[in-house]
């Protein structure tokens, strides 16, 4: 059924259709309307057979999800930003134990400085935690990826993180097609756990493992993620047949057939990039787009094939590996057979800065003209940075960087000198 609803609401409806049995969430910021909506559905009786547990922290949220999943329940939670970091230890435990929890991460920046807006730093900080990470391009895909996530996670006994851009998607009203309960029931089988805490048949889960087998347990987690690379394309095709639309998969190419320049990105910025590429195509530029839906496992072979023809690659990424540069671009370089110098990292949109067509077009044109540095920062206010550096040169006690910059740009009134 077509609906014009908020992204968070669309995801809440999708999760409800997946018949979760335990939803646990820390209800205070940073949180989304997703769990609020689910909480109302449980309380209102629309979502039957599900226990909604308000917990005291994100660490507790993931811990409760672990307990619920280990007891054989289909478990779900959602978080973002600092909340994801606060649960990090339990996030590793969930994947280490092989528990197929599904979690939405409504991507937001990580402080300090305090910032509540969108970028991918939260999800990227957990990229090696052993969870499958899927990134949604729009709210329809966010909705669909949750349905796929439960099946994928439960098939492999691995947890799945569905990443959707905070605010840009979670707070956007747009058209989504919400499937029927029958459609979802037909596509998503009941959860058949490989391990269950059951008093009738007692087992231990979470034993200490020493050097004799720890490496093998980790290896198996890796092997399972590699197995996901084999399953995901077929399931995306199956999903298309059952639901009548393309969603998920490892990656999606757009106008790359004859493209010398390919732009790589994750998430909602792909829409703006595609519009920019359409405009540049009208002027004859041979440019295309590669959207990565599955970031973990990294679809090395698929990315390599998709970039086989490209002379240069521009990666637009919403996170910064301080001291290195791009994270996505570092992954892309492992999949690019051309020179590593032909893969350009463009850090963009940090802390919610708008990524506009005009700025993207400038960067793409620079890349095609051979004038783009290996690492650039989209729309960086260099003068602001220079003035901060000058302050540091001028006096040892130059003061707090963020507050000085805010005063400099005039966001807060200048205090006493």
């Amino acid at each position: 059924m077509l609906k014009q609803i908020e992204g968070s609401r669309a995801v809440a409806e999708a999760v409800a259709l997946c018949r979760p049995e335990v939803i646990c969430a820390y209800p205070i910021s940073p949180q989304t309307h997703i769990v609020e909506g689910l909480g109302e559905m449980v309380k209102g009786g629309e979502l039957e057979g599900c226990e909604f547990i308000n917990v005291e922290s994100e660490f507790a949220a993931m811990s409760v999800a672990i307990g619920a999943s280990a007891a054989g329940a289909r478990a779900y939670t959602a978080t973002a930003s600092q909340g994801l970091l606060y649960m990090a230890e339990a996030v590793f435990n969930a994947s280490g134990l092989g528990l197929p929890i599904v979690m939405t991460v409504a991507n937001r920046a990580i402080g300090a400085p305090i910032n509540i807006w969108n970028d991918h730093t939260d999800a990227m900080s957990q990229r090696d935690c052993g969870w499958i990470q899927l990134f949604a391009e729009d709210n329809q895909e966010a909705l669909d990826l949750h349905i796929q996530a439960f099946r994928l996670g439960e098939e492999l006994s691995l947890p799945v993180m569905v990443c959707m851009d905070g605010f840009i998607l979670t707070h956007a009203y747009e058209r989504v097609d919400v499937p029927t309960q029958e459609q979802v029931d037909a596509w998503l089988p009941a959860f058949e756990p490989r391990q269950v805490l059951d008093p009738a048949e007692p087992v231990s889960i979470g034993a200490m493992v020493g050097p004799e087998a720890f490496m093998e347990v980790r290896y198996l987690a890796h092997a399972k993620q590699m197995r996901a690379l084999e399953l995901i394309p077929g399931w995306a095709e199956e999903f298309r047949t059952a639901f009548g639309r393309e969603s998920g998969g490892l990656l999606r190419s757009y106008r790359t057939e004859d493209a010398d320049t390919v732009v790589v990105a994750l998430g909602s910025v792909l829409g703006t990039i595609k519009d920019t590429v359409d405009e540049m195509r009208r002027d004859g530029a041979k440019i295309g787009v590669l959207g990565i839906t599955c970031f973990r496992p990294w679809p090395l072979a698929a990315v390599r094939a998709a970039l086989a023809r490209a002379k240069r690659v521009v990666v637009i990424e919403k996170a910064l590996a301080v001291g290195l540069g791009g994270i996505v671009s570092s992954n892309v370089r492992t999949s690019f057979t051309g020179s590593p110098d032909a893969v350009h990292a463009v850090i963009a949109g940090l802390g919610g800065r708008s990524i506009t067509r005009a700025s993207l077009a400038r960067v793409f044109a620079a890349a095609m003209g051979g004038k783009l540095e290996p690492l650039t920062f989209l729309d960086l206010d260099r003068a602001l940075v220079e003035r901060a550096l000058a302050r540091e040169r001028e006096q040892r006690r130059s003061g707090p960087i963020a507050e000085n910059m805010l005063r400099d740009v005039g966001v807060v009134a200048a205090g006493p000198a």
């Binding site: 969108n118 707070h171 747009e174 058209r175 703006t272 519009d275």
Partner: protein, 196 residues
């Protein structure tokens, strides 16, 4: 693509207005995308929300930089925020006020635009009368339906009823209808004035 930018202050239902506008367009079979600007959410602080309407899928995620229409829920913003920034020369402007563009100090700017695409409506007073609270958003959408003709008043009413229930919904629908009538009347006067 038709792009609307709504300016107001925290607590005036600016974001809700954009969402209802998108629902109204959706009900008419259009694609629509509504989203807030992501500033600090404080009562009284300047707030911006956006709505794009198109007959095909909308992929663009940048803020609306070159609006085809502006809805200004609080006229005190006119000299505080660059509300007219990027407005198309043939753009629509609807301001919540009982004063004229001239009296608001934007007469000169208004003369550079098409007179039949500019209008004011005392939406806060209309809302107080029908809803009992100074929330001008629904009334302004009624006025906008009359001004731009992009969505019908019936779709606005349906969108309001999706967002609100019972008496609140009906009060807001009544406010939208009255604002629609006010703008229709004002536009007729503008046309007559131009004909003279």
């Amino acid at each position: 693509m038709f792009q609307v930018r709504i300016h107001g202050r925290g607590g005036q239902g600016v974001v809700t207005a954009a969402e209802m506008l998108s629902v109204a367009a959706f009900l008419e079979g259009q694609h629509a995308q509504a989203f807030p600007s992501f500033g600090s959410e404080r009562t009284g602080a300047p707030v911006v929300a956006f709505c794009r309407i198109d007959d095909r899928e909308i992929r663009l995620r940048e803020p609306v930089l070159e609006p085809d229409a502006l809805i200004i829920q609080d006229p005190t913003l006119l000299h505080q925020v660059d509300v007219f920034g990027g407005l198309a020369r043939d753009g629509y402007v609807l301001i919540n006020t009982s004063r004229t563009f001239e009296a608001l100090g934007v007469g000169e700017f208004a003369r550079s635009l098409r007179a039949e695409r500019l209008c004011t409506v005392p939406a806060t007073e209309v809302a107080l009368q029908h809803v009992g609270r100074p929330l001008p958003n629904a009334a302004l959408l009624g006025g906008f339906a009359a001004l731009a003709g992009r969505i019908s008043l019936d779709s606005v009413a349906a969108a309001i009823r999706e967002k609100f229930d019972g008496k609140v919904a009906e009060g807001n629908v009544a406010a939208a209808r009255e604002a629609y009538a006010i703008v229709r009347g004002a536009l007729r006067e503008t046309c007559h004035a131009e004909a003279d």
